[in-house]
Subunit: 360 residues, 2 copies
Amino acid sequence: MSKTTFFGPGPSQLYPGIDRFIQDALAQDVCSISHRSQAFKDIYKETADNLRKLIDLPDNYEVVFLPSATEAWERIVKNLVDKKSFHFTNGSFSKKFYSYSKDSGKEAINFSAPFGEGFDVSQAEIPADTEVICFTQNETSSGVNVPLKDIYSISEKNPEALVAVDVVSSLPIPAFDFSKIDTAFFSVQKCFGMPAGLGVWLVNDRCLAKAKSQEEKGVLIGPHHALPELFAKAQEYQNPCTPNALGIYVLGRVCKAMLDKGIDTLRAENEKKSTLLHDFIAESPLFTEAVEKPEHRSKTVVVANTTVPAGDLNKYLAQFDLNIGSGYGAHKLDQVRIANFPAHSVEVIEKLVEALKNYK
Amino acid sequence: MSKTTFFGPGPSQLYPGIDRFIQDALAQDVCSISHRSQAFKDIYKETADNLRKLIDLPDNYEVVFLPSATEAWERIVKNLVDKKSFHFTNGSFSKKFYSYSKDSGKEAINFSAPFGEGFDVSQAEIPADTEVICFTQNETSSGVNVPLKDIYSISEKNPEALVAVDVVSSLPIPAFDFSKIDTAFFSVQKCFGMPAGLGVWLVNDRCLAKAKSQEEKGVLIGPHHALPELFAKAQEYQNPCTPNALGIYVLGRVCKAMLDKGIDTLRAENEKKSTLLHDFIAESPLFTEAVEKPEHRSKTVVVANTTVPAGDLNKYLAQFDLNIGSGYGAHKLDQVRIANFPAHSVEVIEKLVEALKNYK
């Protein structure tokens, strides 16, 4: 790998050891063996087991592999919603989740906050017949976080509805109580520091029951990647079609490396790095906080308003082998995004802060 | 990579140099750069250009990346079929393509031949209002091939219909005249000898026009990976969501290596290896041809009836570092599948034939 450290919000810096994990996969013929072989099933099981342990996933969940988290939006909408879904939206990705439901012909209800702001979830009026309540726990476009207690409070008030949580760029940092939600999904190119091309969909038995009941009613939940088939195959450590075996293998190794380091250490380091970044923003003439309330600031994607576009800052940062992310969409020039992922060490965050302090 | 040569019908043997291409990708930060950057667009363009050149793809086609060829079935059905599709089926994969249409609520017409047999396409009665005619040019489950002239004759007789061709395990070996079809798709873990996790969808302007007209009529063609968005993004060397950048980069390098070798050489070698395998089957006490008519025998996935299951043969072949594929599904024990992909050299096919000749 080059000397550059990438702080883009994903794709981002690769987790230490990724090149070795890929070499090991090639040496062990992971990319040539049949995806129906016992050798492949063993790889799937190892990865699912390591992930389960890392995030404390209960037994009533299956670990399903998809090609991307984006696809998970469609799978959730098709499999779990017959008529009505409810969406907390405050940025590009939460809005896309909402529009996937609306554009699939469902009655999607939008509870929105302005870009860059969090929610007062107590104000959400969720109809009793809502089938799925959708959160984007970490809005990668704006750096806004939904505190877990807010998700749980909605979940507790709406026990009949399923709760779906987009954790694309936050897991495994937030310590979820998965018994209080029903499904979550992420992409590996964010906090897991991997090459893009693999999504992970965590689904519990309530979701499976809902998908099956939809199927029985004649609701079109497939044909591609219908949940009952995905779930049944996952129970055998298989996928319906040929999966990204290399990605599955590497994810298993990354989870193992994270387990060896310790999830508590990862989370403590995340807090420390988060403090370093926000303390710097508070004092910097370059930046101001893009998210006003501290409790709504993402721990993994730090977003700041900037007087200098990321493109120009990166020309300066290149001498230090550092590269940060630009703002999303319309905020490409007036915001920066700095990933605080497990692949970013405390030392490299300190180096970035130091370099940015000296920018003139 | 290990010393073993894999002849499974995909995942299969990796194309020579793949490990180096992956190392180069890591060294060049292909997995860390933003998928919206110029650097990524350059990679996409290079890969699309190399592929275009290799298979002689006309300018009215776009090269669209999907996570898998399986997903292409759903995209074709949703984007290109309002009411009626017509399917030539004679094995598991052609039947799945058919069932994707049927299970999407379309009127899917099934023109079937028995497993292991080709079609007499002159017998197909295709209704005038058929929107898409679907071929599985190389049926990976049974080793049956549809000759290109048969596809073209159907295409010429039905100029109003779009012609969709599954070339999952045959491209780039057949020399397609892409002006006689409208869309084709493949997976990279077959003839391109790559890790699984990337599909390529080749789509022409007629397909785009059809998808747009469906959209205007209110037919649900999305939300995920709707063709108008995929096509427009591909024109800018982009994907709607984060793609498998590593796979796209490696595919470009594999196409370049194939161009350097020469497509005519690859095709001539394929013929030579095919003859070696079929001459062996004709004389072998172990095997008999699974596909009776020579013109219907796949050039890339050779299938034979066997008296010894692949699992047992592989125990013997392990001493020579060789590994073949079992039969598909119900034929796991009574058939073998031997891939004849560009990654398999003439020498290694000779070695396999020699080893199998000496099996007792």
